[in-house]
Amino acid sequence: MTARGLGEFEQLVLLAIAHLQKDAYGIPIVEEIERRTGRSVARAAVYITLRRLEEKGFVSSWMSEPIAERGGKGRRYAKLEAEGVKALRDARRAAERMWRGLDPASLRVK
């Protein structure tokens, strides 16, 4: 992973934000990844990754108004930034290039 590149979990988080659009904050992001990948996700990993993605400029975030059911705390919503979209596309292209000429069904361990 280069400084501009994406780790696998970062990709999952970015894609979850893309799917959720306006509803992307901690809880649904965790649920979205778990639902789509079928694996359990450490909540802390999502928060740490979100912060790292923000530091890289791939996402931006803002706090909502305080909500009573959340003990008076707001939600931190995340939004994909242009850099993030580009990074996702780059990652996808890189993966496709690597797959080119390979048949997933015919992969064997030699």
């Binding site: 901690g26 802390a44 928060y47 740490i48 706090m63 931190r76």
Partner: protein
């Protein structure tokens, strides 16, 4: 209720500490939202556990990050541990799992003990009163310096203070009374009520949820009976009915009108849920030093301090002392923190048990810290070559020390988290226990506070400094030059005196402290395994109390009438029971057979210190009812009860005869309680010796079963323990019958804890077993750590001499002689430690008045010493034999 939908407080506090500020609100909000969602379909306990697990997982993930930030903010530069250092630390731990496990476990126990003690002491001795400006609420009292107790007969003083004390506002007073609350089917339920002045609510500064609080008018003698109830009672008994105000409930003999409901959590003055006004009868004169026990409290005036209030109180006190009776002149009027009077802080802080516990915890910490340091130190020194290589490659001393600190911090940090987990579990159990008992003061908050978490973090850093930085500084100091000079030659650093001192101290401490801990554990285990010593399923036991419905300053004739009516009530109850079918007999005692009071007793004509003795008050039917055999003399007879209490004889048991009287014929000898000050205590003549009962049962804190029995006559006390022996029916089925009989005899006769005697004994034994488990856990971890520490120390020092052994072999010394000399040297160090340990143990035993070891414990000392010797010698033998296998030529070549 919103309160029920709030996640556990301490988990939230931990979360706030663990999560960095920029994510904190979002994370906390998310967890709160999930918590509320889960609570809709899951029980509270399960949801709380889930929440705790989430918080702990988040804490573990954020902790390294958080710690790094703190360290970076303290200073910048490459001297601070990096993520890489921490990762390396984890790898080093994985490389030596034995060290990680033993060291980590030891440190976790150390942190748990220390942080647990910190949390308890803080919430017990320095609590925050959860009321507005709670720290300005004070108690006004009179301390009896002679007896080291609070004198609470304050009615007279209260009336004066209330009039004259200006530095304390809203001066109020309360006493706790119990009454039967009439429930359905003619069965009474005993409830605890605060009889309190209306000013109590002003002092607390908490308004009612419904209706009103008590008013000054309610205190007027003859006003109608009113009661304010607490939130929990309102919910449980009245289903949260909003129209409860104005309803009547029967308390004792009188109907009371409910005038207010207090909000949830309000339990001022201590743990109360019912409040009635404290009324003073204007017709009866109020006399200094007489009347019921009262607690007096108030709020410091806005510009007053505790010192200024004390000064004002002192002035009033001097005048009262001059006017008042001489026998009250030694009482000290004083203003103290509100909670201090309830915990009797002075006496507690001076008690030997408290001192022993503090000493034990401090000592255990020393042992734990020392052992872990030894383990890590031994390993660090073996790494001196690696350190030398890194230095040669250009690493600064700071870098290497930082690296070793980071390694240690990984260990101590994990240990701190595990230790905090143990504390949280322990405190939760304690909290539950106190809540079940229903008398936890409202200010006691034994949860995991932010302070406790920070304290544990501090311990982790401190631990990392001790086990990381200190050995690292040494390893990179003078020894480094030595190691660099001998790089590749296999030579290792020499330590000499330091190691000898460590070995001696290590063995000494273990030998000194482990036996008393094991002894205490052993005693409780024995107690838990002991059969109860009386026939099972035949006894029903209940605590009873005949309440007196009178104002606080009852006149003497009122009091006498009340006492008479109590006597009638108890004798009527006993007569009714005697006529019940299936009842063999009933007896009245001061407590359950296996407990009792403890008082120092001295013997006539013997010049020896008074011995603390278990005392019990029993009636004439007690020994017969429990089939206790008389070994000498006789039982109590009815005409003994006709004598005044001071003249009544006593009965003792065989351990009393041996330990207090020093053997011989006990009958006719005289004993008395040790006097305080210049009062004289009456002599009591021993008329009988009965067998040990219940056989072999000793309470966990008591060193002996020596017992002295006094005679009481039914009706003499308005509250005591009633035990009924049944035949042909189960205690459980007779319990409701007993309750009905009691209510029909007198509505003021309250029964509590109505259960079979074996059930009560089982609970008692179980609490002992829990204590034993705790002691075993701690002793076991100390022994494990000490053995590991000794093993590391001895094998390390012998390892240092491996080449020397090789050379001596090369020069023709016999293997046996070499092995002998190595073992002898190790044995000398170990023996010195054992000697010091023995002396310390004996000194401690003496300081504790012989109660620490109690004879048997002294047998454990040599056993522990032998074990430590064995571990040490085994540790020495391994490296010594390896040294013998070194080829002489190889040893000489490397020289």
């Amino acid at each position: 209720m919103t309160a029920a939908l709030t996640p556990p407080r301490f988990a939230r506090a931990l979360l706030r500490v663990a999560v960095p500020s920029e994510s904190r609100d979002a994370v906390e909000g998310d967890l709160h939202e999930l918590y509320v969602g889960r609570r809709q379909h899951s029980p509270r306990v399960a949801t709380s556990i889930w929440y705790w697990l989430e918080v702990l997982s988040l804490t573990m993930r954020f902790a390294p990050d958080r710690f790094m930030r703190v360290m970076r903010s303290l200073a910048t530069g490459d001297a601070l541990p990096s993520r890489l250092d921490l990762r390396l630390g984890v790898r080093m731990l994985a490389k030596s799992p034995g060290l990680a496990l033993v060291g980590g476990f030891g440190m976790a126990v150390g942190v748990a003990l220390s942080a647990g003690a910190y949390a308890l002491f803080n919430s017990y001795f320095f609590p925050d009163i959860p009321l507005p400006e709670g720290d300005r609420i004070v108690a006004v009292g009179k301390f009896d310096a002679l007896r080291r107790v609070e004198n609470e007969q304050l009615l007279y003083d209260f009336t004066v203070w209330r009039r004259e004390l200006k530095q304390v506002q809203d001066l109020g007073a309360f006493r706790t009374v119990t009454r039967n609350l009439a429930a359905d089917a003619g069965v009474g339920e005993s409830i605890i009520i605060a009889e309190m002045t209306a000013s109590g609510f002003r002092v607390a500064r908490v308004g009612p949820l419904l209706g009103r609080t008590l008013l000054d008018e309610d205190e007027r003698f003859g006003a109608s009976h009113v009661i304010v109830i607490g939130h929990d009672v309102w919910q449980a008994r009245f289903g949260g009915d909003p129209s409860v105000i104005g309803r009547e409930i029967h308390i004792g003999r009188a109907p009371h009108t409910i005038v207010g409901v207090m909000p949830q959590g309000f339990a001022f003055p201590v743990s109360h849920q019912y409040w009635i006004p404290l009324r003073i009868d204007p017709r009866t004169p109020i006399v200094p030093g007489m009347g019921p026990n009262l607690d007096v409290f108030g709020r410091l005036a806005p510009d007053a301090s505790k010192a200024s209030a004390q000064a004002e109180l002192q002035m009033i006190a001097s005048r009262l002392t001059a006017e008042g009776p001489k026998e009250l002149a030694h009482l000290d009027s004083r203003i103290v923190d509100y909670t201090d009077v309830f915990i009797n802080a002075e006496a507690e802080k001076e008690s030997t048990m408290y001192a022993f516990l503090r000493f034990l915890i401090a000592f255990l910490l020393v042992v734990v810290a020392m052992n872990v340091a030894v383990l890590v130190y031994a390993r660090t020194v073996t790494r001196s070559e690696e350190i030398a290589v890194r230095t040669a490659l250009g690493a600064t001393r700071g870098r290497i020390v930082t690296q070793l600190f980071a390694e240690a911090f990984v260990l101590s940090g994990l240990a701190a988290v595990a230790g905090l987990g143990m504390v949280a579990v322990g405190l939760n159990m304690l909290d539950q226990f106190m809540r079940d008992a229903g008398d936890a003061p409202f200010w006691i908050d034994s949860g995991l506070s932010l302070g406790t978490v920070l304290y544990a973090l501090l311990l982790a850093v401190l631990g990392a400094v001790i086990v990381g930085i200190v050995p690292a500084m040494r390893a990179t100091g003078s020894q480094l030059r030595f190691a660099m000079g001998s790089l590749g030659s296999g030579a290792k650093a020499k330590l000499g005196a330091t190691w000898t001192t460590l070995i001696v101290a290590q063995v000494g401490i273990t030998v000194a402290i482990l036996p008393p801990a094991m002894l205490k554990g052993g005693q409780t285990v024995r107690m838990a395994l002991q059969p109860q010593g009386f026939a099972q399923g035949e006894y029903l036991s209940a605590n009873f109390f005949v309440a007196r419905e009178s104002q606080v300053n009852a006149s003497e004739s009122d009091a006498r009438a009340a006492a008479d009516s109590a006597r009638v009530t108890i004798t009527t109850l006993l007569a009714r029971l005697a006529n019940e079918s299936g009842v063999v007999g009933a007896t009245i005692t001061s407590s359950a057979p296996w407990t009792g009071g403890r008082d120092p007793v001295e013997v006539e004509g013997v010049d020896a210190p008074a011995l603390s003795t278990r005392t019990q008050w029993v009636d004439t039917s007690y020994f017969g009812l429990f089939d206790v055999r008389v070994l000498a003399g006789r039982r109590f007879a009815p005409n003994d009860g006709a004598l005044s209490m001071a003249d009544r004889p006593v009965i003792v048991n065989p351990s009393f005869v041996t330990e207090v009287l020093g053997g011989g014929d006990a009958i006719g000898r005289r004993v008395r309680y040790r006097a305080y000050g210049d009062e004289t205590m009456p002599w009591h003549t021993i008329i009988g010796v009965v067998e040990e009962f219940p056989a072999g049962v000793r309470s966990s804190g008591a060193p002996s079963t020596r017992t002295m029995y006094h005679l009481t006559v039914p009706g003499e006390w308005d509250g005591a323990t009633l035990t009924i022996r049944l035949r042909g029916q189960r205690p459980e089925t007779f319990a409701p019958v007993l309750r009905q009989i009691a209510m029909s005899v007198d509505p003021m006769l309250q029964l509590s804890s109505v259960r079979s005697l074996d059930a009560k004994y089982r609970d008692y034994a179980r609490s002992g077993a829990r204590l034993a488990l705790f002691v075993a856990l701690i002793s076991g971890s100390v022994l494990l750590l000490s053995s590991a520490g000794i093993h590391a120390l001895v094998s390390f020092t012998v390892n240092q001499r491996r080449r020397e052994i090789g050379i001596r072999t090369a020069l023709g010394a016999s293997a046996r002689r070499i092995l002998g000399s190595v073992l002898l040297r190790a044995a000398r160090q170990l023996a010195l430690g054992v000697g010091i340990g023995l002396l310390t143990a004996m000194l401690l035993d003496r300081l504790a008045g012989g109660e620490l070891m109690n004879g048997i414990g002294l047998l454990l000392v040599p056993a522990t010493a032998a074990f430590m010797l064995l571990v040490g010698l085994v540790a020495a033998a391994g490296p010594a034999r390896r040294g013998l296998r070194v080829q002489p030529t190889e040893a000489l070549r490397s020289e």
